[in-house]
Amino acid sequence: MSEQAMKLRGRVAVVLADNVDTDLIYPGRYLNITDREKTAEHLFELAYPEIRAALQPGDIILGGKNFGCGSSREQAAAAVKFSGVGAVVAKSFARIFFRNSINLGLPVVTAPAVQARAGDELEIDLLAGRIVNLTTGAVFDAAPLDPRAVELLEAGGLIPYLKFRIQKSEVRIQKAEGGSQNEDPSDEMQAILNSDF
C-alpha cells in the first residue's frame, strides 16, 4: 500500500475529556454482542448517545489523556470503527484499546499537544507523525506509529494481515505438542497453591 494511504483527513466530530473509559465507549451489558458491525449501535450509549447520531463517515474523535482505559473489551474499538469513525486522535491511549484499534484497522494517533475544536478539519500523516489542523493552520507532532502497527493498518487489521501471511506461508502453524503445559509445580509454588486463596 502506498504512503498516500497512510494519510487521512476528516472532521473533528467531538472533543472528549481525559480518561474516557471502555464502559463509557461501550457498556458491559452489551458484551455478548459478537457481531462487530452491530456493536456500533451502542457507541457511547450511556453518557453521550448524541455523539453517535451526529457522526459522519470519516469523522475524527478527539480524546484527552488515557483514552480507552479500563476493560480489554474489543467491542469498544469495534463500536468506534463501525460507527464510521476514520481515526481517534488523543493525548494518550490506554494500551489495550490502542492495540485493539490497530488490530481492527482503526487508526489511533497519539498527539499530546494537539488542539482542535469540534468541526475543525484535520489532516493526519500516520507515518510522519504529523497533524495539520486545516481550519486553524496549526501543525502538531504525533507519535509515529511502530512499523508493525503500520503493517497491520495497511493490511486492514490483524485478521487480513494473518490471512495474507498464511497464504504466503509465512506463518508457521505449529502442531500441538501435547501435555506440555502442566509441569509439576516447584515446592515453593505448591506451598503457594496450598495457601490461603
Binding site: L24, R29, N66, E74, D196, F197
Partner: protein, 406 residues
C-alpha cells in the same frame, strides 16, 4: 546490564540475551486465557481460516462473566464455546459450576508459573504477576492471532518500582494500599509500564493480598505487575524508570475509598462524610477470596445488615465457596442477611445479579466504578476493602469497621 522482571521474561520468551524498554519483540506465549469472549476469539480465529489452534494444552477457557447464562443469547454463546473446545481438544475448560472467576481458577489450579508469558482476553490478567508471570490483557482478535501462531509482539515496557515499608494499621489491607497508590499516580500513572512491588510490607502479605495489588495495577494502566516470588527476581543492576517509596503505616493509616466515577478518585474514609448505601457487594477477581470472606464474616458475626441495605456476596470460585462454607463464613454472612450469588463476576460488569437503579449507591469490593458500570448511569459505585464493605452493610452507610465492631 541488569534487567527488570519484565525485561528478563520478555528476553527469554523472545530468545534474546537482553531486551531494553521500547524494544519491540515477538514473544512465545506460554498460556492463553479467555472467558465468555472466547466466542469472539473463535469468530476471529475462524475468519483467519486456520483449522486447528496452535496448542490446545496452552489455552484455558473459563466461563465467569455471565454464569449461569442470564439470557438466551448468552446461552447460545456458552454452547458455541463448549462445541469449540470439544472440536479443538481444549481440555482446560471450566464450565458453569466447575470453576469460578477466570483469574482465581487459573491461579488455584497451578497453571501459572514464574517466568511465563501469560495473555488473557481480560484486562485483569495482570493478577498473575503475583506468581511471577509476565501477564497482560489483550483483545479478542489479538488472541485469535495467539491461537493461530502461539506468539505475540510486545513493546518492552519501562518498569516502575514501588517499595512499601511499614505496618498496616488494623482494618487496613492490600486493597487500601493499592487504592492509595492509584489515587496518587492516577488512572494512567503506570500506562504501558511494568510495575514491581517490593519491600518488607509486601513480603508480609498473603498470596491473596498480593493478587489484589497485581490485579488493581491495571487500573493505573499497568501492562504487567509483579509481586516478589522466589523463583525469579530482577537483576541487581536493573534500571527503573521511577522508584516510589511508601510508608504504609503513615501514608495508608486508614481505609481508602475510590469515589464515583473513577478508580483514581481516592479519598481516605474519614474524608468521605455521610454516604448511605442501598447495596454492598463483596466479591470479584479483586476481593472474593477466603481472607476477604474471613474478615467480612468477623465483622458480620452476630449483626444484622441495615434494613435499607442489601449485601451481595460472590465467592471467586467453587473452591472458595466450599472452603468458606466449611469454615462457617457463608453461614455467618447469610445469617446476617447476605444473599450469596454463584461464583463468577456477579454484578461487577453490569450484566446481572445485582444491577443498580437510578439514584442508588453501592459500596463494592470490586475493581471499577465507572459511570454506569454496575447498572444505571445515574447510580454510584464506591470501591472499598472487604472490611469496609461488610461494615457499611451493617451501618447502612459507608463506615469504618471499627464503628460496628465495638
Amino acid at each position: 546490564m541488569g534487567m527488570t522482571l519484565a525485561e528478563k521474561i520478555l528476553a527469554r520468551a523472545s530468545g534474546r540475551e537482553t531486551v531494553a524498554p521500547d524494544q519491540v519483540v515477538v514473544a512465545r506465549v506460554d498460556l492463553a486465557l479467555s472467558h465468555e469472549n472466547a466466542d469472539l476469539v473463535r469468530k476471529s480465529f475462524q475468519e483467519i481460516g486456520v483449522a486447528r489452534v496452535w496448542d490446545p494444552e496452552k489455552i484455558v477457557i473459563i466461563l465467569d462473566h455471565r454464569v449461569p447464562a442470564e439470557s438466551e443469547k448468552t446461552a447460545t454463546t456458552h454452547k458455541a464455546i463448549r462445541e469449540f473446545v470439544r472440536e479443538q481438544g481444549i481440555r482446560h475448560f471450566y464450565d458453569v459450576g466447575r470453576g469460578g472467576i477466570c483469574h482465581q481458577v487459573l491461579a488455584e489450579n497451578g497453571y501459572v508459573q514464574p517466568g511465563m508469558v501469560v495473555v488473557g482476553t481480560d484486562s485483569h490478567t495482570t493478577t498473575h504477576g503475583a506468581f511471577g508471570a509476565f501477564a497482560a490483557g489483550i483483545g479478542a482478535t489479538e488472541m485469535a492471532g495467539v491461537w493461530t501462531e502461539g506468539e505475540l509482539w510486545f513493546k518492552t515496557p519501562a518498569t516502575m518500582r514501588i517499595e512499601v515499608d511499614g505496618e498496616f494499621a488494623e482494618w487496613v489491607s492490600a486493597k487500601d494500599l493499592i487504592l492509595y497508590i492509584i489515587g496518587q499516580l492516577g488512572a494512567d500513572g503506570a500506562d504501558y509500564r511494568a510495575v514491581e512491588f517490593d519491600g518488607p510490607a509486601i513480603h508480609r502479605l498473603s498470596v491473596a493480598s498480593r493478587m489484589v495489588l497485581a490485579n488493581l495495577s491495571m487500573e493505573m494502566g499497568a501492562k504487567v505487575a509483579f509481586t516478589p516470588v522466589e523463583e525469579i527476581a530482577p537483576d541487581a543492576g536493573a534500571r527503573y524508570e521511577r522508584v516510589i517509596r511508601i510508608d504504609a503505616s503513615r501514608e495508608v493509616a486508614e481505609p481508602q475509598i475510590a469515589c464515583p466515577h473513577a478508580v483514581d478518585n481516592v479519598k481516605p474514609l474519614s474524608a468521605l462524610g455521610h454516604v448511605p448505601v442501598e447495596q454492598a457487594v463483596l466479591g470479584s477477581c479483586t476481593n472474593g477470596r477466603l481472607e476477604d470472606f474471613e474478615i467480612a464474616a468477623r465483622i458480620l458475626a452476630g449483626c444484622r445488615i441495615h434494613e435499607r441495605t442489601r449485601l451481595i456476596v460472590i465467592p471467586a470460585s467453587q473452591r472458595i465457596y466450599l472452603e468458606a462454607m466449611r469454615l462457617g463464613y457463608i453461614q455467618t454472612m447469610v445469617e446476617a442477611g447476605a444473599m450469596v450469588n454463584p461464583p463468577g463476576c456477579g454484578p461487577c460488569v453490569g450484566v446481572h445479579q445485582g444491577i443498580l437503579a437510578a439514584g442508588e449507591t453501592c459500596v463494592s469490593s470490586t475493581n471499577r466504578n465507572f459511570l454506569g458500570r454496575m447498572g444505571s448511569k445515574d447510580s454510584r459505585v464506591y470501591l472499598a476493602s472487604p472490611a469496609v464493605v461488610a461494615a457499611s452493610a451493617v451501618a447502612g452507610r459507608i463506615a469504618h469497621p471499627a464503628e460496628v465492631t465495638a
